[in-house]
């Protein structure tokens, strides 16, 4: 395997329960990988183990050829891994512009240069670009907490892209988004992928969204990967149908 991200034998045990059971997969640069599975199949725990929120019981994670297992989230972010969370996570009292600045400022300069405000000058262009890309420019000076849900969702995703990450994990990006906004979101993600070569791993329950966007889909059930393939292959897989309908 020679992917941007390589996960091998990742396991997380909670007492007697194997929430994630020896999961291995790789993500190639420029790919959009979807992870689906019934509730409780270990998708979010898998994300949390890869992204430093939880310490894996066993297994390894490599990113761009470097061992990153168990590193703290802030360090992973500075290495080029972005993420969003299942629930909206923004800084509600800060303005939209400040949210984006906060999302990018730690990726340039030193701690000391940040005290003297140096990164902001370099970030201004990236902020404007991101505001325009997600159509939030007219809201730049508005406190993020007073945006509509859909706009907050776009801001949330924009923040994950502020630092120009090489790989972004999206936990249910379509969750709670209305159909009109969903089309917009899909277009934005596809543009980020095509125009900037952004690589995604996303957890999603909205099958139409997953099947339309992803190059490859991983199916989890009871902590294990039970199927892997293109959306077409996965949709026809008997084990997948069993996992969703049987049991």
């Amino acid at each position: 395997m020679n992917g941007l991200l390589e996960v091998s034998g990742l396991t997380r045990r909670f007492g007697g329960i194997l929430a994630v059971d020896s999961v291995s997969f790789a993500v190639a640069p420029g790919e959009i990988l979807g992870i689906i599975g019934p509730n409780g199949s270990g998708k979010s725990t898998l994300f949390n183990c890869i992204l430093g929120q939880l310490r894996p019981t066993a297994g390894r994670v490599r990113f761009a050829g470097r061992e990153v297992t168990g590193l703290r989230p802030s360090l992973l972010s500075r290495l080029g891994i972005g993420r969003t969370f299942q629930l909206l996570q923004i800084f509600p009292k800060l303005k939209v512009r400040e949210n984006l600045l906060a999302a990018g400022q730690e990726h340039r300069g030193s701690m000391l240069s940040r005290l003297f405000g140096a990164p902001d000058a370099g970030l201004a262009g990236a902020v404007e670009e991101m505001l325009a890309f997600f159509r939030l420019a007219h809201l730049a000076e508005t406190p993020a907490g007073s945006l509509s849900y859909g706009q907050q969702k776009l801001l949330d995703i924009a923040m994950a892209f502020m630092a120009g990450p090489r790989l972004v994990f999206l936990d249910e990006p379509a969750g709670g988004v209305n159909p009109a906004m969903l089309a917009e979101l899909e277009a934005r993600l596809r543009a980020l992928n095509r125009e900037r070569g952004a690589t995604f791993v996303l957890i999603e329950h909205n099958m139409e969204f997953v099947m339309g966007l992803c190059d490859r889909v991983l199916v989890m059930a009871e902590g294990r990967v039970i199927a892997e393939g293109t959306p077409r292959e996965v949709r026809a897989d008997a084990r997948v149908i069993e996992a969703y309908l049987g049991g």
């Binding site: 802030s74 993420r83 969370f85 400022q105 730690e106 005290l115």
Partner: protein, 316 residues
């Protein structure tokens, strides 16, 4: 927007005139109160950084004022200039504040309040019991006032202007800090620590920094409190001062730049204005605090904002 800016400039000029000219008409007791206000404002601004901006509860700010006061008192009574006492106080504040930040990496909110409350008591006991260093309950007397740029500050008016100058410098420094990416990282830490961490903001480091800087500013206030009162003993640095500083921050407006100044003004002036009520003073003060907490969760500065918004017809 311009109307609002005009109002802000007018208010600023009024306050500046008050701070610069009113003292010329005051007797020593009035000057003492205004100097005390400046000292308490500095200490509360430090706490406002830790609590209001970075969202880390601290009930130990009074202990840091004590650390600064003792550092200044010990050095100046031994013949050193106050500048040396300030440096030692601020250095100790940074160090002890950094250490106090470690529990905040594990516990939050009211648990953190209890941990910092314990730290305050610990510092108080050291000040009271280690009498070989601190003079114990007898304290340290005859603390000299400094000579600033060749001018002695023995006269209360001169010392007040010294305090005001220090307050301006601290205010300027903190203002610049809060506008820098550090300030934004502190606010991100308060608003959503998990998200901040996922965006590369090293929340551990910024938590420790918030405690260290906020505490050091408290110690700086202590280092000018010592020459203000010229005699210190451990009693003012018990838990009561930490609670009073917390109230100043909350009543003025936590996370608002001018909140501490307003909160400190109320804490210093209200007892004087309510003197006619004698024993009722504490009760009246308590009622005021409760009213502010219930009706003005963003403090008195928040109230000013709301009123100016309503005046512009944007009120809800």
């Amino acid at each position: 927007m311009t109307g609002r800016r005009l109002a802000a400039v007018a208010a600023g000029l009024l306050v500046a005139a008050l701070l610069l000219l009113l003292p010329l008409t005051l007797r020593p007791y009035g000057l003492y109160l205004m100097s005390l206000w400046a000292v308490l404002t500095i200490a509360a601004m430090g706490l406002n950084l830790t609590l209001g901006y970075a969202g880390q509860v601290s009930l130990a700010q009074g202990a840091f004022v004590g650390i600064g006061a003792y550092a200044a008192a010990l050095l100046t009574t031994a013949g050193w200039p106050l500048g040396a006492g300030l440096l030692l106080g601020v250095g100790l504040g940074l160090l002890v504040g950094w250490l106090l930040g470690y529990p905040a990496l594990r516990v939050q909110h009211h648990y953190l309040a209890f941990v910092t409350l314990g730290a305050n008591t610990l510092v108080f006991l050291v000040l009271r019991n280690e009498d070989w260093l601190t003079g114990g309950v007898y304290g340290i007397a005859a603390i000299p006032r400094p000579t600033v740029l060749g001018y002695p500050t023995d006269h209360p008016l001169a010392f007040y202007y010294f305090c005001l100058g220090v307050l301006l410098l601290v205010g300027l420094g903190l203002g610049l800090l809060l506008r820098s990416p550090w300030g934004r990282a502190f606010e991100a830490l308060r608003e959503n620590p998990v998200r901040a961490e996922s965006l590369g903001i090293d929340t551990r480091r910024y938590t420790l920094l918030a405690f260290a800087i906020g505490s050091a500013v408290g110690s700086l206030a202590g280092a000018i409190y010592a020459p203000l009162v010229q005699y210190i003993d451990p009693s003012p640095f018990a838990l009561g001062l930490s609670l009073a500083l917390l109230l100043m921050v909350v009543v003025g407006g936590a996370g608002r730049f001018f909140g501490p100044g307003l909160g400190a003004a109320i804490a210093v002036l209200l007892p004087e204005w309510l003197r006619f009520s004698e024993g009722l003073y504490l009760i009246l003060y308590a009622v005021l605090v409760i009213l502010v907490l219930v009706f003005l969760p963003s403090g008195l500065v928040g109230l000013a904002d709301r009123l100016s918004a309503r005046a512009r017809g944007e009120g809800r």
